[in-house]
């Protein structure tokens, strides 16, 4: 009985990989970078709360005691060497505690640990995405390319999220280092997937790379993060599949697209 209850309880908890209504916190991490970002957020938040409580205590206390009858004579202290030194040194130590994890994350995001296994190009157009998987071309013409359009509001099937689903998802293998090359065909765009901790701007004439290691299988939703005109809400859906299924999924996708 208790097992049934526990199973029922835990099956309803699924990882949050898309925006939820009234969501306050981050989506669940799918990559080490996102996990690092969330951990950094927790580190900073601790110091934030400390400072907030300290400052608000002082403010509230000052307001509370500002009373002509109860405290008619204010303090006349204007100097105090010891406290001035403490209140200068101590707040400059706090940003050091914040900076250490922050810089560690920043530089580790750029580190090349291993060479990527796959390169996927995400090309932004107004207003859809096209993806190119060109690692296996034997000539300049043939390439695994497909377009990815957001499913319009009137068309989604039951269970699909409004304005978040696309017709062709980007299929990537999980637990594999991949390099995303992001570039636009027309105007600036931005390729963002919050649960993977990725936001890479696509600037015309420039090709930006970002490195992702998706640690768990699943479907991750993101949105273009550079507004470029009307009907702009177009989305990015990354589907991470086990490595052994990757080859067949990608070739199926290509067959479906060309048909």
């Amino acid at each position: 009985m208790i097992e049934v209850f526990l199973e029922w309880r835990f099956l309803t908890i699924a990882p949050c990989d898309a925006a939820e209504p009234w969501q306050l916190g981050s989506q669940d991490a799918a990559t080490p970078i996102m996990q690092g970002i969330i951990d950094l957020h927790h580190d900073i938040f601790f110091f934030l709360i400390l400072i907030f409580v300290f400052v608000s205590r002082m403010l509230v206390r000052a307001l509370w005691h500002f009373h002509e009858q109860k405290n008619p004579i204010p303090q006349r202290i204007v100097h105090g060497t010891t406290i001035e030194i403490i209140r200068t040194i101590f707040p400059s130590i706090i940003p050091m505690f914040i900076a250490i994890p922050s810089f560690a994350l920043l530089y580790s995001m750029d580190e090349v640990v291993v060479d990527p296994a796959i390169t996927i190009k995400a090309i932004g157009h107004q207003w859809y995405r096209s993806y190119e998987y060109s690692d296996y071309n034997s000539s300049d013409e043939q390439s695994l390319t497909f377009d990815s359009y957001t499913i319009p509001e009137d068309d989604p099937e039951l269970g699909q999220s409004r304005l978040l689903e696309v017709d062709n998802r980007v299929v990537v293998p999980a637990k594999t280092h991949l390099r995303m090359i992001v570039t636009p065909a027309d105007v600036p765009h931005s390729w963002a997937v919050p649960s993977s901790g990725v936001k890479c701007d696509a600037v015309p004439g420039r090709s930006n790379q970002t490195s992702i290691l998706v640690q768990r299988e699943g479907v991750y939703y993101g949105q273009c993060s550079e507004i470029r005109g009307t009907n702009h809400a177009f989305t990015i859906v990354v589907e991470a599949v086990p490595l052994k299924d990757y080859g067949s999924r990608v070739s199926n996708q290509f067959i479906l697209q060309t048909n």
Binding site: P116, I118, T119, I181, Q209, G247
Partner: protein, 77 residues
């Protein structure tokens, strides 16, 4: 489906940051220089060809190929 070996253009430390525009351009030029040095059918040059095809968007490759044919390519090949 047979297991496909996953490999792609390696990370080049000459281009360590996010901007890979120059990396893609350099691989394209390297391929054509290799072809010029070793002849049209050299198998060694295919490595560079794979690298630039992985890194460069198709649009750019098509544009550069056209420029090469019309003699307006903006770099010595």
């Amino acid at each position: 489906m047979a297991e496909i070996e996953l490999k792609t253009a390696p990370a080049d430390f000459c281009f360590p940051s996010a901007n890979q525009t120059r990396h893609c351009f350099t691989r394209y030029i390297e391929y054509h220089k290799c072809l010029k040095a070793k002849g049209e059918d050299a198998a060694d040059c295919q490595k560079f060809a794979r690298y630039y095809r992985s890194l460069c968007p198709l649009e750019w490759i098509e544009k550069w190929n056209e420029q090469k044919e019309s003699g307006t390519f903006p770099a010595p090949l």
